[in-house]
Each structure stands twice: as structure tokens, then as C-alpha cells.
């Protein structure tokens, strides 16, 4: 059974139809990369899965929880899927540890001591145990993004959505973030990531989705999609003739 079932999802912003009937099934443990030009709807799709955008038609079911735009259903959905953002979006008034502890204490009502233990464990997992008391300001972009990953992991989601998580980073900081993601993938975490890191998509992902003008244009194993693009749009996007 699929963990995330996206069926015929349509999304409009005013007159502009951004998603024109998307269907993707993601199995548990799968790592799916979504690639495509900007404006192809890939970020919107990801945001729909987390309920940050409402959908106009179709359905999204995550581990049996139907996406419905009311607070109870949204919360249930968001407890299952974590999200990492391009701009990190750490809470600047809290330390790295505080960032990882906050939602556990507020949403799950975890006692402070337990939340702190989880936070230390998660920060250790992304290699930042020694930065527990550092404010986001004092961290590099790569470190901030790793704290953001730890923050999402602390909620024990069954899947993670990554929205261009390395796009705002300096080139030399990309590797450390991707290494963490790769490790998560190896541990069996289900990942759906919008990315521009083609090599990473090729090495780590189990499937690649190429989106074009609000539709899934091609979908398949990375070696097929990258070595054997069938449509001219994908060929042009990959820069191969």
C-alpha cells in the first residue's frame, strides 16, 4: 500500500491552473525527487501534501489520513509529514535546541526533560550536538538547515518533504546537508524532495518525477529518466540532445 497517495490533484491560483491533475503514489521508504523548471508546480505540489496550500480537486491521502482543510485534519496530516524549507525558517528567538524542543512541548505536550533528550538526540543525528545552545544567527546556512531537519525529525514523522533545501546554500555547504538527507534515506525514511541537485537525485532517489506545466511529464527510475529521456521537454531541461 502506498504511504502517500496523490490522486488527480488540481490547484488554481485565480485563473492560473498550477496543478492540472497530478497523480503520484509514494511507497513507504521510497525517495522521490521532483524535478522541473520553476513554475512547473513542483513546490506547490509539495506544499499541498503538507496542507500549506489547499487543493481544488482530487485527493491526497497520507497513511490513511485524508487531506481536509480544517484544523483537526490538518494537524493530523502535519504530524505525519514533516517539511523542510528552502529558507530554513528556524525560529530566530530560540536556540537550536529550543527550535527542536518547541513543537514537541507545544503540540505533543512532551515534558520538557523528554523533549530536551529527544532534541539532543536529533541534533546529534545531524552532527550538531555541540550547537545545542547556539542561536540560529550564530550558525552557518548548512548548520541551520540541519537544525531544521532535526526539528522536523523530532516530531517523528513517517515522511519528510524537502522543498529545495539546498538552493539557498553556498555551494560548499550543500554537501553537508545532502549527506544528512542521504543518511535518512539509507535508514528507510520516506522522502519527497523538490531538488535541483541532479546528481543527488540520480544517486539517492528511487524514483524521479519530471513536472512540466502543472503535469507529471515523465516518471520513472532515475537511470531511465536521466539516461533515457523520452520527451523533448525533459531532454531540453536536462540539457541533452
Amino acid at each position: 500500500m502506498s504511504l502517500i497517495a496523490i490522486t488527480e490533484v488540481k490547484k488554481r491560483f485565480g485563473d492560473n491552473e498550477v496543478l492540472k491533475g497530478i497523480s503520484i503514489d509514494v511507497a513507504p521508504g521510497e525517495v522521490v525527487a521532483i524535478i522541473g523548471k520553476s513554475g512547473s508546480g513542483k513546490s506547490t505540489l509539495l506544499r499541498c501534501i503538507n496542507g500549506l496550500e489547499t487543493i481544488d480537486e482530487g485527493s491526497i491521502v497520507v497513511a490513511g489520513a485524508q487531506f481536509l482543510p480544517d484544523e483537526v485534519h490538518l494537524k493530523a496530516l502535519r504530524l505525519k509529514v514533516g517539511m523542510i524549507f528552502q529558507q530554513f525558517n528556524l525560529f530566530p528567538h530560540l536556540t537550536a535546541g529550543g527550535n527542536v524542543m518547541l513543537s514537541q512541548m507545544v503540540v505533543k505536550k512532551t515534558p520538557k526533560k523528554d523533549a530536551e533528550a529527544v532534541a539532543r538526540k536529533m541534533l546529534d543525528r545531524v552532527g550538531l550536538a555541540h550547537k545545542f545552545d547556539a542561536l540560529p544567527d550564530e550558525l552557518s546556512g548548512g548548520q541551520q538547515q540541519r537544525v531544521a531537519i532535526a526539528r522536523a525529525l523530532a516530531m517523528q514523522p513517517i515522511a519528510l518533504l524537502c522543498d529545495e533545501i539546498t538552493s539557498a546554500l553556498d555551494p560548499e555547504l550543500v554537501a553537508e546537508v545532502l549527506a544528512v538527507v542521504k543518511e535518512l534515506a539509507a535508514e528507510g525514511m520516506t522522502l519527497v524532495m523538490v531538488t535541483h541537485e541532479m546528481r543527488f537525485a540520480r544517486d539517492v532517489c528511487s524514483r524521479v518525477v519530471f513536472m512540466h506545466q502543472g503535469r507529471v511529464h515523465e516518471i520513472g527510475a532515475p537511470e531511465d529518466v536521466f539516461s533515457n529521456p523520452r520527451t523533448p521537454e525533459l531532454r531540453q531541461f536536462l540539457g541533452v540532445q
Binding site: L52, E71, R78, G82, M83, Q87, H93
Partner: protein, 219 residues
Amino acid sequence: MTEFSFWDILRNLLLAARWTVVLSLVSFIGGGIVGAALLFLRIGGRRGMQFLSRGYIQLFQGTPLLMQLFLAFFGLGLFGIDVPAWLAACVALILWTAAFLAEIWRGCVESIAKGQWEASASLGMGYLQQMRYVILPQALKVAVPPTVGFSVQVVKGTALTSIIGFVELSKAGSIVTNATFQPFTVYGLVALIYFALCWPLSKSSQLLERKLNVAHRNH
């Protein structure tokens, strides 16, 4: 005819200035509470509530405080409710302050990046939790200087309540003038007392602004 010494004048004005201070505090605290409620409705309430709150703010920002005082004082009187001057003054000033504070604070809340809302939402927080733990702690920093700055307007705004007969500093000024025939001395002192009340507020607003800028230097 009785002679009034300088000390007599000053003492009477200072005694009345107490009421200016009390009225300012009441307006500011009361206005802050009502303003916070308006803010929550304005930003995250249901559509109808947002509409109401916006209408309220526009109404109170778009009419003179003097008219609001008249309406609170004489308006309710028309319905046979006898409103004492102090009550009308407090109610009008609280409602007026609330409208401005709600709008100042809305600006501060909206200055917080959208990503903060999205990140906290994606972690499963509800609206009130987002406000309480993520948005307000950040907005508060931004809000302190303009809020303190606005408190100066509140202090000066209390002068208008003299028109409906509430004896605060301004009203005491005209009463004492009528008794002493020394308008320049009296109103000069009145102005100085207002200045003594307001100046520390403006100054602290400036200081706070500078202090918070220092805190932002690392960004």
C-alpha cells in the same frame, strides 16, 4: 481679592496632573487589552470577525478623539443613561487607544516572515500556539519602540477630556487661570508638566529603538 503664590498654582496643577497620569495609564492598559483582542481577530479570526475588527479600527482612526468623547459623554445621556465625565473619558480613550495599538501591532506581526508561520504550521501548531510561541515573541521586539512612542499620544490625548468637564491637567489649567488671571504662567506650567511626562517616554522609545537595533546587528 486673594493673592495666589506661584507655589499655589504649581501645587494645584500637580495635583490635577495625577489624574492625567491615572487616565493615561488606564487608557494605555485598557487600550492594550482591547487592542490585543482586536489584533487576534484582525489577523486570524473568522472572516466576519476580521471585517468587524477592521471596521472598528477604521472608524476610530477616522474620527476625531473629541467626537468620540462627545459621543461617549452626551450620546449615552440621550438614552437616559447618566455617564459621569471620568467614565466617558476612560471609555472613549480606551477604545481610541485600542484602535491605534491594534493597527501598530498588526504591522509588527505582519513584519514577521511568512516562513515562520509556515514552519510552525508544518510542525502541527494551531493559530494560537503559533502566535504565542513563534510570532509574538518576535513581533514584541519590533513593537516596543512604536508602542512606547504611541503612549506619548495617549498622554496628550487625555487633554481633550477637559472639554467634557473631567478635571485633569488641562482643565485644572483653565480653572486656575480663571482664578488667578495669570494665563501665561499657568499654561506655561501646564505645558512644562506635559513635557515632563512625555519627554521621558519619547526618550525611552529612542533608546529602545537603538538597543533593539544592536540586537539586530547580527542579521
